[in-house]
C-alpha cells in the first residue's frame, strides 16, 4: 500500500484537526485543546461526487446498520424504511437451498449465464450430509456440478460420506465455517440462504438470511433490494457471572421482546458485558437474533477490536485493506463527531483505544477500520433501547414450543428429560464444548441421559480432541466427555437441530423431552411433532445431562 503521505489531510479543505501518526505512544491528551493540536486528520482519497458536506455523515449520525448499507448501496445517507439496491460482498448458500437458488439463477439468467463474481460466493454443504437419503446426496452433487461449471472459488465439498476427516475441503456448519475461513469481515454485506446468517453480525457486518429467489437474483447481479431496518439497541452492563453464557443473554432478550419483537429491525448489542464476551460467544448472541424476528444482530466491540485485528485467520489482511478503504470515507464525520461531541464516558474510552490502536499498528487500514466501528457509538438514532443488568441474571431455558417461552432453569427442575443435544451453529462451537466439559469436570459424575455431541465444523471437532480444558490437568474435551459417558462426538454437520432425513444422528423420532443448545424449539423442530425441546446454554445442558432433569448449572459450578 502507499506510504503514509495520504494519511495527512489537507487541513485547509477540511478545517478539522486530526491525528498524527507520529505522536508519541501513550500520550493521552487530557483536554480537548491539546488534542486538536496534536492530531492530524485522516482522509480518504477525494472523490469528486462526495464532498464532505454532502456525505451526510457529518450532519446526522447513522447507526452501524445504516452505515454499512449506505456504503454498500453507495448512498451518502440512509434512513430506516428506505428500500435500496445494495452491493453484496458475499453470498453464502448450502445444500438445502443451494439447488433451488441455482435453478432460479439458470431460469432467469439463462443456462449459460455466469455468476456475478466467482470469488464472492461461498457454497458450504452442511445440512443433510451424513445420510443415506438420495435426494440429500443428489443436492450436494448439484452444488458440485454448479461449482465446477462456474469455477466457484469457495466450495467446501464433501465426497466421502463415511469419514468426514478424509475430505480436506469439507468444513461443517456454514455459519461457523464462514467465520473460520475468514469470510466474515466487518463492514461488509453478507447474505445467506439460511436464517441464521445473522450469526456473522458478531463481526460487525450486515448479515441476514434470504430465500432462493433472492439468492438467485444475487447470483446473477450481485445486488439485492433491501429495506433499511431501524435499530434496536441492547445495552448489557454488569459483570458476567461465571455460570452464565451468551445463550442465556439472548434467551433473556427474546423472552423480553417476544418472537416478533424485532421483526424488520436490526438488533445491536453493546455494553460492558458484551465487551467481555469472546467472538464465539458473540456469534451465539447474534445467531438467535432471527428468533426474535430480527433482521440482523450486531456486536461491535472496541476492546476486542485490537485483538480482532491481530486474529489473522479471522480477517485475512488483503481483504481487510479493502474494507478500510471504505472506512476512510467515514472518517470525516468521525473526527468532527469525536471533537465536538459531548464528553461522554464512551468517548474518552474510545479516544484511549484509538491511540492504543495507533500504537499497536501503524497500518492506516487498521485505523480506518477502527474509526468506522467507533463511529457507531456517536449520537446515532435508535428505535428503542433496552438496558439489562447481567449481574442479576440467572440461567434460563426456553420451554416448548417457542424460543420466547423463557423460564428460569431452576424453576424447571421437575422436568424429566430424555436426552441432551449439544451442537449446531448456536451451541456447537469450541467454546460451547469447553463450557460443557467444564461442568462435567466440576461434577466428576456420569451423565444420566444420552448426550449427543455434534461439533459444528471439522476444526471444532479437532479442538474437542486436542485442546486441553483449563483446570483439568491437561485433559481434552473428548476425554472428559468420554469419562462422563457422553456419546462420541459425531461428524460435523447441522445434524438434528432441524430434524432432517429420518436417519440423521440424534434426530427425535419419537416424542421425548430434550435439552439442547440449538436455536429453535417450535413443534417438530428436531423431528417429532410432539417432541419437547428446551433451549439452554451449554452449561445448563451439561448440568441437565448429569441429573436427568432440567438443572441450573450453579449446582455444579459453585
Amino acid at each position: 500500500m502507499a506510504s503514509s503521505s495520504s494519511f495527512i489531510a489537507n487541513k485547509k479543505d477540511l478545517g478539522v484537526s486530526a491525528f498524527s501518526s507520529t505522536s508519541s505512544p501513550f500520550s493521552i491528551p487530557k483536554c480537548r485543546k491539546s488534542i486538536s493540536k496534536k492530531i492530524v486528520s485522516v482522509m480518504a482519497p477525494q472523490q469528486s461526487e462526495r464532498k464532505p458536506a454532502t456525505t451526510g455523515s457529518v450532519k446526522i449520525a447513522m447507526t452501524m446498520t445504516e452505515k454499512i448499507l449506505a456504503r454498500a448501496s453507495e448512498k451518502p445517507q440512509l434512513s430506516p424504511g428506505e428500500n435500496v439496491w445494495v452491493n453484496v460482498d458475499t453470498l453464502m448458500t448450502h445444500d438445502v437451498c443451494g439447488p433451488g437458488s441455482i435453478g432460479i439463477f439458470k431460469r432467469e439468467f439463462g443456462d449459460n449465464a455466469k455468476v456475478w463474481d466467482r470469488e464472492k460466493i461461498v457454497i458450504i454443504p452442511d445440512h443433510y450430509i451424513f445420510t443415506t437419503d438420495e435426494r440429500a446426496n443428489r443436492n450436494v452433487d448439484i452444488l458440485r456440478d454448479f461449482c465446477l461449471e462456474q469455477n466457484i472459488k469457495y466450495f467446501y465439498d464433501i465426497k466421502d460420506l463415511s469419514n468426514f476427516k478424509v475430505n480436506p475441503d469439507y468444513k461443517g456448519v456454514c455459519h461457523v465455517a464462514l467465520a473460520q475461513e475468514g469470510h466474515c469481515r466487518p463492514g461488509e454485506v453478507l447474505l445467506g440462504t439460511d436464517s441464521h446468517t445473522c450469526t456473522a453480525g458478531a463481526f460487525g457486518q450486515f448479515a441476514t438470511g434470504i430465500g432462493n429467489t433472492d439468492a438467485g437474483f444475487v447470483l446473477g447481479t450481485g445486488k439485492l433490494l433491501l429495506k433499511v431496518p431501524p435499530t434496536l439497541r441492547f445495552v448489557m452492563d454488569g459483570e458476567m457471572p461465571d455460570y452464565l453464557l451468551a445463550k442465556d443473554l439472548i434467551l433473556q432478550i427474546i423472552g423480553e421482546i417476544s418472537v416478533s419483537g424485532a421483526t424488520y429491525k436490526s438488533m445491536e448489542f453493546v455494553g460492558t458485558t458484551v465487551e467481555s464476551l469472546n467472538m464465539e460467544e458473540r456469534m451465539t448472541l447474534c445467531s438467535m437474533v432471527v428468533e426474535a424476528g430480527g433482521r440482523m444482530g450486531l456486536s461491535l466491540l472496541i476492546a476486542l477490536l485490537s485483538s480482532t485485528l491481530r486474529i489473522r485467520h479471522l480477517c485475512p489482511m488483503n481483504q481487510f485493506i479493502v474494507i478500510s478503504k471504505q472506512g476512510f470515507q467515514m472518517c470525516f464525520g468521525l473526527m468532527i463527531a469525536i471533537l465536538f461531541s459531548p464528553s461522554v464516558y464512551e468517548i474518552d474510552r474510545l479516544r484511549l483505544l484509538l491511540y492504543s490502536l495507533l500504537v499497536e499498528t501503524t497500518r492506516r487500514e487498521a485505523v480506518g477500520f477502527a474509526l468506522v466501528v467507533i463511529y457507531v457509538f456517536l449520537a446515532s438514532r435508535f428505535l428503542s433501547e433496552y438496558r439489562l443488568d447481567i449481574s442479576k441474571l440467572e440461567p434460563l431455558v426456553a420451554k416448548p414450543h417457542s424460543p420466547d417461552n423463557r423460564a428460569l432453569a431452576r424453576e424447571c427442575k421437575d422436568v424429566k428429560i430424555d436426552r441432551v443435544y449439544i451442537g449446531s451453529c448456536t451451541g456447537g462451537k469450541t467454546e460451547d464444548f469447553m463450557a460443557a466439559a467444564k461442568v462435567f469436570l466440576a461434577s466428576g459424575k456420569k451423565v444420566k441421559v444420552p448426550t449427543f455431541l455434534v461439533p459444528a465444523t471439522q476444526k471444532v471437532w479437532m479442538d474437542v480432541y486436542s485442546l486441553p480444558v483449563p483446570g483439568s490437568g491437561g485433559k481434552t474435551c473428548s476425554q472428559i466427555f468420554e469419562e462422563a459417558g457422553c456419546d462420541t462426538p459425531a461428524s460435523p454437520t447441522c445434524g438434528a437441530c432441524l430434524g432432517g432425513p429420518k436417519d440423521t444422528y440424534a434426530r427425535m423420532n419419537e416424542p421425548m423431552v430434550c435439552v439442547s443448545t440449538t436455536n429453535r424449539n417450535f413443534p417438530g423442530r428436531m423431528g417429532h411433532k410432539e417432541g419437547q425441546i428446551y433451549l439452554a446454554s451449554p452449561y445448563t445442558a451439561a448440568a441437565s445431562a448429569l441429573t436427568g432433569y432440567v438443572t441450573d448449572p450453579r449446582e455444579f459450578l459453585q
Binding site: 435426494r135 430465500g211 429467489t213
Partner: protein, 279 residues
Amino acid sequence: MKTLVCLINCRLEIFAVHFDVDVAFCTRYRTVTFPTSRCCLDAWAMKLWAKPNVRFEYPKPPLHSSTTHHQNPWLPRAAAPRPTRLRHSLTAESTNATTFHGICYVVGDNIDTDQIIPAEYLTLVPSNPAEYEKLGSYALIGLPASYETRFIEPNEMKTKYSIVIGGDNFGCGSSREHAPVALGAAGVAAVVAESYARIFFRNSVATGEIYPLESEVRICEECKTGDVVTIELAESRLINHTTGKEYKLKPIGDAGPVIEAGGIFAYARKTGMIPSQSC
C-alpha cells in the same frame, strides 16, 4: 430501452407500462412473452395472481446436468403463443384476478416454517417441477395434532383451501423459501395474517407464490376452517360469506411495486437493474 408509464383510468385503476423491447418473464414455470407492441402490465400481473384450479401442463424437463441435455428447457421457447392486445380482454379476466374466492383454513399465531414444511422434506428442490408438486403435498403437514382438520387430505397433492388465515408472526423461523413455495404449490392463493415474519413475507413477494395480506384485526379468531371467503384486492377487504362479516385489510405497502411487477426479477427488469431476458 424507453419506457413510458401512463395512468389508465380503467375501473381497476392500475398502471400500465409500455415496453419498447421484448420482455420475457418466467414465473412458476409459466412463460409469458410480450410483443414489442403495447402490452398491458396490469392484466399480465393479474394473470399471475389469478389461480385457476386447472394448472398448465408444463413439460417436465430433466434436472439440470451439464452433460446430459442439449436444449435448455427453462428458456422461453420462441414458439410460445404471444398474447395480443390484452387490453380488450382486460374486463373479462380482471374480475377473476383481483379477487380470491374459496374456503379458508385458519391457523394460530407463530406458525413457523417447520410447521409449514418440516425440515425432512427440504431435500425437494422447488425449481424442479416434479419436486415442486411433491413439496406442495406436504404443506402444513407439520401442524400439531391440535389441528383436527388436515390441510391436505392423505394421498392428495393439492388442498381444497385456497386461502389461509393466520395470526401473528406467520411464517417465523427459517429463511427457507420452501415454505411459501409449498403453500403455493398446494394451491393456496393468498394468506391473510395479522403480521408476518420478514423473511417469509419477503420470500412470498419475491417468488409470487402466494399473496401475503395483512389484516387490521385478528381474523383468525373470528373465522373458522371451512368458511367461504372472498378477498377483494381493489377494495382491500375480506368477506366471510359464512358469517356474513367483512374485514378491512391493510394496504400492501413497500412490497406493492414488486408484487405488481411480478416478483423481484420482473421488478428489477422494469427498473432497469438487470437487462431484460431475450428469447
